[in-house]
């Protein structure tokens, strides 16, 4: 993956597949570190699957027995000297309080740090693909904060789906404006 924002997109797709109603993506950035957390209330994973999930030969997909999403994310943070964690409660054992939280700490000063990249594109793709989910995004930067809660948008939109192209375009502009305000992060697109 060329950007951490692509890993975030990939990991968040697992939350979509897990049937989550709410997905929270939290980024906390200092001048030296980036902390990423993707948290959902989806079906979760049983302990034995969870224990094996960082192994590339563990996967939910049926086309072949290789799953690289989580191993790649883990590698991306660990190669900077950072840390990876995944915590999950499966819906069978935790019927009222299930879900998965995947988090990673990156050291931005490391030569092996992949840039965060185009977070806005990641969010618009996620919202466009799963407009029924409540997406809550926060990015704390040294110079300010960027946030988005799709529930607030839904209220203003009435019955118009979040995936409508005009709405998706509005969300991209809305986030870009916030990034311009918070530290002038250019958030380059590829």
């Amino acid at each position: 993956m060329k950007e951490i924002s692509l890993n975030i997109l990939d990991i968040a797709q697992n939350s979509v597949k897990a049937g989550a109603e709410t997905v929270r993506i939290e980024l906390k950035e200092t001048t030296e570190t980036l902390f990423v957390s993707i948290s959902d209330d989806g079906c979760g994973m049983k302990p034995d699957f969870l224990a094996a999930v960082t192994d590339p030969f563990t996967t939910t997909r049926t086309t072949r027995n290789v799953g690289l999403g989580i191993p790649l994310f883990k590698l991306a943070c660990e190669q900077t000297g950072g840390e990876f964690s995944i915590v999950s409660r499966d819906s069978e054992n935790f019927p009222t309080d299930h879900g998965t939280t995947t988090s990673a700490l990156f050291y931005k000063t490391s030569i092996d740090y992949t840039p965060l990249g185009d977070v806005i594109s990641t969010l618009t793709v996620l919202i466009q693909g799963a407009p029924e989910i409540r997406w809550v995004f926060t990015h704390t930067l040294p110079g300010g904060e960027v946030r988005l809660d799709t529930d607030e948008l839904k209220e203003a939109l009435g019955g118009v789906p979040l995936s409508h192209p005009e709405v998706v375009a509005w969300i991209a502009d809305y986030l870009k404006e916030q990034y311009d305000g918070a530290n002038g992060n250019p958030c380059p697109s590829i």
């Binding site: 990939d10 690289l68 594109s121």
Partner: protein, 121 residues
């Protein structure tokens, strides 16, 4: 400054239109968005389709959706076009530029771009 009022304006504009149903289009564009697709560049391809379909005023006719891995990872980014009564068209090794061309020539003009279609495998 972007405000939620702008969303209310979009809502009003949509309500004036007869068609409000998502997915009512005749054509479905499906972009592979699993690890393999994402790593190969599916994100900008998806965004290009959404933007171009909107720009060309095709959003009532064309629905852009996402799917997981369809098993031909070496050809990612893969885009499938489904149209009622026609055979599925599978575009491979897509880029945002090719996506723009597909919207213009195929989705709008009705002509499949055979150069970008998967060859027999």
């Amino acid at each position: 400054m972007k405000s939620l009022e702008e969303l209310a304006a979009i809502r009003e504009r949509m309500q004036n239109k007869v068609v409000l149903r998502e997915g009512s289009g005749d054509i479905r564009v499906v972009v592979g968005m699993a690890t393999c697709g994402i790593a190969a560049g599916a994100r900008p391809v998806l965004n290009a389709f959404v933007e171009e379909v909107n720009r060309e005023g095709l959003s009532d006719k064309v629905t852009v959706t996402q799917t997981g891995c369809i098993g031909i990872c070496q050809f990612e980014p893969v885009v499938e076009v489904f149209e009622a009564g026609k055979e599925k068209v599978t575009y491979v090794k897509m880029t945002p530029e090719k996506a723009k061309e597909v919207v213009e020539k195929h989705l709008k003009g009705g002509k499949v771009i055979t150069d970008y279609v998967i060859k027999d495998i």
